[in-house]
């Protein structure tokens, strides 16, 4: 026989005959396909999880009598679309430096995403509509298409199914042509790389034709091996070199007893934890309990008969037989008397497909899947007949092997929850990290998503103990905000983040203000409270209210700061507050006032002139208080405040006694710099746990300085038009929470974030600050870093909206777990609650930007020190706390 040179095509026709909308028709059956949206599982209470399982079970029970098919496939993260979206939402990005342009910045993030992020899971649900009669199938083969009458009949059934599938437990929506195309593409080319653009670009046409189907089936070649462990798939499309992958299908076998909700997560979502995509195809018959009771009764009769045989032959029966009889009786009872959720049963086959570039890699992945399920006491079996099993993944293909049929109660099946997925971040803003739990998904954070899109407040607390990486996260968010051209003001008391202003791409557009070197009087309480601007208000009444409020804030601030400046013993004197109140009232609340006027008043109350000379009762303006004790105390207060003005730390609060000094104090802090970093070198913050009486002078000075610096930074917000995007980053907010005036600032900022389009990042060591400051309503998103104290961790969970006492406190304390030798890891983990309410753990990762990483690298050691092994350098140490306490 002559040998053929050309390979003869051996077409393997699919069972699929027609795709009409979301309905696929084969010769025998019709399926309606739906897309199941992702559901959140992580960081939820057990009650909620159980509720999810039950709701899903009830929804599936409504589909009793039908066969349903679940297909889980994946789609690469839409990196390019994300980058284009980010660019579109960035109207005026900074051009950047030569090697770090805005484009480079986006490209670096895209490259990182390409290599680091796993694909996103998509879950499709196909529900059998109605079996097709032979006549309609015959008509179709004659006419070439399904008849309109048949389709109308199907549509009526589909409407019922739509309602069931859309119920809360599943929440599925009919698959649009785009999704159908993706499903078919991924199913026919199982294990092959994901295709790029399908169909025409969006907006032009959402329809697809039979020819589109040809486009991705023609090049796909399946090469089975007899008794092989896997199937070779070849993609021979002409636009690229042939791609080969090896696909193996694993079938789930014996399943154990299960606790619902399963603490290890839903069993059909378990493969999310694997570092490679796993395709799932399950075919399940939903059986109403009453309809299938006969089968159980028959099984029970056979068990009884077997038991009788053993008795007749006087042979010990296997122990399992009794157990099986009991189980059968219980099932029969459930089927007869249980509600829909309890009585409904399922029979089905669960197949998982893994692919590798080589057969060895494929088998390696099969082992990984089997090990994964072995840990759950489930069998995952690599059966024979792989070639036919691969075809089962294509919609419309029948079940090829009835082996490994699983009979599960509805609750067990519903607990599989293949749609459980992790979704974190707004998918709009710049990249801030990667989800660290079971999957590696990118986390994006758009600083103004909450205020502009959600129309909510923009306060973002970042809490964590010392070294949790708060400053690194702040730096990452602020860096990206600045690169997007968003006005950013950072208050970094310890100072290392000032290096951001030296980065080549930001240098031209940023400014570093060191308050320690600022002119005297920069932090005068009267000057730091911004004067409301008429243009920011809709009418005169609002403006008047704001002016009154600003005046009240100035007074409160002046009193509180004066008390902070005094030693604790003097502050606790009964006269202190009354005298300060009176003096500051007399001085007034205009931006031009200052502490020298207060000192003057206090001296007057003591019967002294401003320069300390004694006044006679006959002198004009003699105001000595009648209460001797109060008069003496007024003198003490005046002297103490005057002494403070002479110190290096204290001079910031007292403008020089010249007109120019006053002008300096009244000047707003910001210029037109896009990024302003305000630092306070030499600031020594006290340990919050040490009583105030034991604070040193420098520590005492640092607290009011920090307060006023926060107010100073806040002025930037009020100095710009309301609609302009702004980012404000405050640090060490736990000191603000200790004083009423700090709380007032927090409340004011929290309240105004939406109105002024501000994203306010507030770093603190204690989540209770945010919870106690009446700003919980203004929290847009929150980040929680490592916290070891159980009580504080519980507060953090409240901030995240995660149930307390459900074991998550331990999860908070194990974030950024140090290595066995006690060294902190090279990364920092946070739990993030995004503006949409999703919560999960993620790793703040800046490795895509080495320049930024170098800036936030706060290794305290000097370069060239002995143990400075580059591999052990801690890139994420929290420099803030190191420097503050240094």
């Amino acid at each position: 026989m002559a040998r053929r040179e050309e390979p003869r095509p051996a077409p393997l026709a699919l069972a699929l005959r027609e795709i009409s909308g979301n309905i696929t028709l084969t010769k025998r059956s019709a399926y309606a396909w739906y897309v199941v949206p992702p559901a959140r599982w992580a960081w939820r209470a057990d009650g909620d999880r159980r509720g999810m399982v039950d709701a899903a079970g009830i929804a599936y029970a409504g589909l009793a009598g039908r066969r349903i098919r679940t297909r889980v496939t994946s789609r690469p993260y839409p990196v390019a679309a994300w980058a284009r979206g980010l660019h579109a939402r960035t109207p005026s990005p900074l051009p950047g430096a030569e090697d770090s342009t805005w484009s480079d910045n986006l490209l670096a993030q895209q490259r990182y995403l390409r290599t680091s992020a796993t694909a996103e899971k998509e879950v499709y649900l196909g529900v059998e509509v109605a079996p097709r009669s032979r006549i309609t199938a015959l008509t179709e083969s004659v006419m070439g298409k399904a008849g309109n009458r048949e389709l109308a009949h199907l549509e009526r059934d589909v409407e019922l199914i739509n309602e069931m599938v859309a119920s809360p437990g599943i929440g599925g929506a009919p698959a649009d042509p785009r999704r159908m195309e993706w499903l078919l593409h991924r199913s026919i080319g199982l294990g092959l790389p994901a295709p790029g653009g399908l169909m025409s670009p969006p907006g032009l046409s959402d329809q697809w034709e039979t020819t589109d189907l040809h486009a991705f089936t023609e090049g796909v070649v399946v090469r089975p091996t007899p008794l092989g462990r896997c199937v070779q798939m070849v993609d021979r499309r002409p636009d690229h070199d042939p791609l080969t992958s090896y696909v193996a299908v694993v079938t789930l076998g014996r399943m154990p007893e299960m606790i619902i909700p399963d603490p290890r997560g839903p069993w059909l979502s378990a493969t999310d934890a694997l570092p490679f995509p796993v395709e799932v195809s399950s075919t399940v018959d939903i059986l109403a309990g009453t309809a299938t009771r006969t089968g159980v009764t028959k099984a029970l009769l056979r068990i009884r008969d077997q038991q009788r045989q053993y008795q007749i032959h006087d042979v010990d029966e296997p122990a399992s037989l009794t157990r099986q009889a009991d189980h059968a009786r219980r099932i029969e009872d459930e089927m007869s008397h249980g509600d829909d959720l309890v009585s409904t049963r399922t029979e089905g086959w669960y197949r998982l497909a893994v692919a590798g570039r080589t057969e060895a890699e494929c088998m390696e992945r099969v082992r990984a899947v089997r090990d994964l399920y072995k840990r759950r006491h489930m069998d995952a079996v690599l059966t024979k007949g792989q070639a036919s099993l691969v075809r089962e993944f294509v919609p419309g293909e029948p079940i090829t092997s009835t082996a490994y049929r699983r009979r599960l109660p509805m609750r067990y099946y519903a607990a599989g929850l293949p749609q459980v997925s992790t979704r974190l971040g707004d998918r709009r803003g710049p990249l801030i990290g990667i989800i660290a739990s079971s999957v590696r998904r990118p986390v994006m954070f758009d600083s103004h998503y909450s205020t502009e899109v959600k129309k909510a407040s923009g306060l973002v607390p970042i809490v964590g103990r010392q070294g949790a990486g708060k400053s690194v996260l702040e730096a990452a968010i602020c860096y990206q905000a600045a690169r997007r051209g968003i006005r950013t003001v950072m208050l970094d008391p310890s100072g290392p983040l000032a290096a951001l202003t030296e980065m080549p791409e930001l240098k031209e557009f940023s400014e570093h203000i060191d308050l320690a070197k600022a002119p005297a009087g920069t932090l005068s309480p009267w000057a730091v409270v911004p004067e409301p601007q008429p243009g920011h208000f809709d009418d005169q009444e609002q403006f008047d209210e704001a002016v009154d409020e600003a005046r009240a804030e100035r007074k409160t601030l002046a009193i509180d700061i004066a008390r902070m400046l005094l030693p604790a013993q003097i502050d606790s004197n009964a006269h202190t507050e009354a005298l300060l109140l009176r003096a500051i009232r007399d001085v007034g609340a205009e931006p031009g006032s200052n502490y020298w006027a207060v000192i003057w008043r206090l001296r007057e109350y003591a019967g002294l002139k401003f320069d300390g000379a004694t006044m006679e009762p006959d002198d004009p303006g003699y105001k000595r208080l009648r209460d001797e004790g109060a008069a003496m105390h007024a003198q003490t207060l005046a002297d103490l405040l005057a002494d403070t003005a002479e110190t290096r730390q204290g001079r910031l609060f007292f403008p020089p006694l010249t007109p120019a000094g006053q002008e300096i104090a009244a000047r707003p802090p910001h210029t037109e710099a896009v990024l302003t970093v305000i630092t306070m070198s030499g600031l020594v913050l006290p340990n919050p746990s040490v009583p105030r009486e034991h604070w040193s002078f420098t520590e005492r000075m640092s607290v009011p300085a920090l307060h006023l610096a926060s107010w100073y930074a806040t002025r930037a917000v009020y100095g710009l038009p309301r609609h302009v995007r702004k980012v404000l980053a405050l640090d060490e907010c736990h000191f603000l929470a200790m004083w009423p005036v700090g709380r007032a600032l927090f409340q004011r900022v929290g309240r105004d974030t939406r109105k002024y389009n501000v994203c306010c990042l507030a770093a603190s060591q204690d989540p209770a600050d945010t919870l106690n400051m009446d700003v919980a309503n203004h929290v847009a998103a929150s980040f929680v870093g490592r916290i070891e104290d159980e009580r504080v961790a519980a507060d953090a969970l409240r901030l995240l909206g995660v149930p307390v006492d459900a074991g998550y406190e331990h999860a908070i304390s194990t974030l950024s777990q140090p290595g066995p030798d006690g060294t902190p890891p090279d990364y920092r983990e946070f739990v993030f609650r995004d503006a949409d309410g999703n919560v999960d753990r993620f790793v703040a990762d800046l490795s895509y930007n080495p320049g930024l990483l170098a800036v936030v690298n706060t290794d305290a050691r000097q370069p060239g020190e002995g143990d400075a092994d580059p591999s052990t350098v801690d890139d994420y140490a929290d420099f803030t706390d190191d420097r503050v306490s240094a």
Binding site: A10, A81, L107, P202, K384, F610
Partner: protein, 327 residues
């Protein structure tokens, strides 16, 4: 709260063993299915072997002995494959699948099985079907109305819950949304996960985006060489730094001040006076020039509020007044 659920498999997975006739227990115990398999194998073997064994009782007997032995071996082989998970009836499909795979593999490597769509028809739901369905709905409504005798028209299906489609960002160029930068890594082509290289995306600039290349095309990504083409960014630096986002409406009363040099080198020593929206700075009213007896300037700065009586001040004045009289 937690609930334990067991699969139903166990109920169906028990061994129905035939122990023998009553009162006589067989030395071997096998499942009914094994007996059945053996019997089938024996019959087949006998049907095949008896004609081959020659005529005569000896031949028939010999054939039966052979059939017996062969059927035992065969049935044991089959029963090695059959278990609770792989019932006997699932074997034919398995064998046929493997046989087809073997047939395909016996040919040359190129002789592979091609998956082809065949005669698959893809279409949207035809309008006729939708119209037909509408008529059906109308009839159903009418029937229901007649039964209820209530002439209230409730459109069927209106109460259905409209589900909002979850957010999905398409991984393709959104031509409708506006200018499309050309420098992002395209996903519109197949990418090779092993080499991680990408082909460029053709970007259409035309009448729709006449200004597009100058503003939005800072760098052209060239996949083959992996480097950037020397297309300089055309982003106006100053505008990028100081202009407000285009999405916001312009503020009429306070136009943003655009300057050629928007940033001062030293914030505290400005070279030029800054134009702020705030009114003129308040005149200096520090302790040097203002008498402590003078009323706070702020009170007079806003005459509208001047006449408001200050209750607290009056109270304090009353408290302090006797002290002065005493002196």
């Amino acid at each position: 709260m937690a609930l334990t659920v067991r699969p139903d498999d166990e109920v169906y997975q028990f061994d129905t063993v035939w122990l023998g006739p009553d009162e006589y227990t067989l030395p071997i115990q096998a499942r009914y299915v094994a007996w059945g398999t053996w019997l089938a194998c024996f019959l087949v073997a006998a049907v095949v072997l008896i004609p081959l064994g020659g005529s005569g009782p000896a031949g028939v007997f010999g054939s039966l002995i052979w059939s017996l032995g062969l059927s035992v071996v065969l049935s044991r082989a089959v029963m090695l494959v059959v278990d609770h998970e792989r019932p006997l009836r699932s074997l034919p499909a398995l064998f046929s699948a493997e046989a087809r795979a073997a047939l395909a593999a016996r040919r040359r490597a190129e002789r592979t099985v091609l998956v082809r769509p065949g005669k698959i028809r893809v279409r949207e739901t035809p309008p006729k079907v939708i119209a037909m369905r509408e008529r059906q709905r109308g009839r159903a409504t009418a029937r229901a109305d007649r039964k209820r005798r209530a002439p209230v028209e409730v459109p069927v299906g209106a109460e259905r819950v409209e589900r909002v489609e979850p957010e999905w960002l398409p991984d393709t160029i959104d031509y409708g949304a506006g200018p499309t930068p050309a420098w992002s890594i395209p996903t519109d082509v197949t990418y090779h996960s092993d080499t991680d290289t990408y082909a460029p995306v053709p970007v259409i600039y035309g009448a729709a985006y006449p200004l597009a290349p100058s503003v939005m095309d800072p760098v052209l990504w060239v996949a083959e060489s992996g480097r950037h083409a020397a297309h300089e960014a055309a982003i106006p630096v100053v505008a990028a730094a100081v202009t407000q986002p285009a999405a916001f409406p312009p503020v009429v009363d306070r136009p943003p001040a655009i300057r050629t040099n928007p940033f001062r080198s030293d914030p505290h020593h400005p070279e030029a006076p800054i134009q702020h929206e705030t009114p003129e700075p308040t005149p200096y009213r520090g302790p040097v020039t203002v008498s402590p007896d003078g009323a706070p300037a702020g009170r007079h700065a806003r005459p509208a509020r001047e006449d408001k009586p200050d209750g607290q001040a009056a109270l304090e004045a009353r408290i302090l007044l006797p002290a002065r009289k005493d002196r």
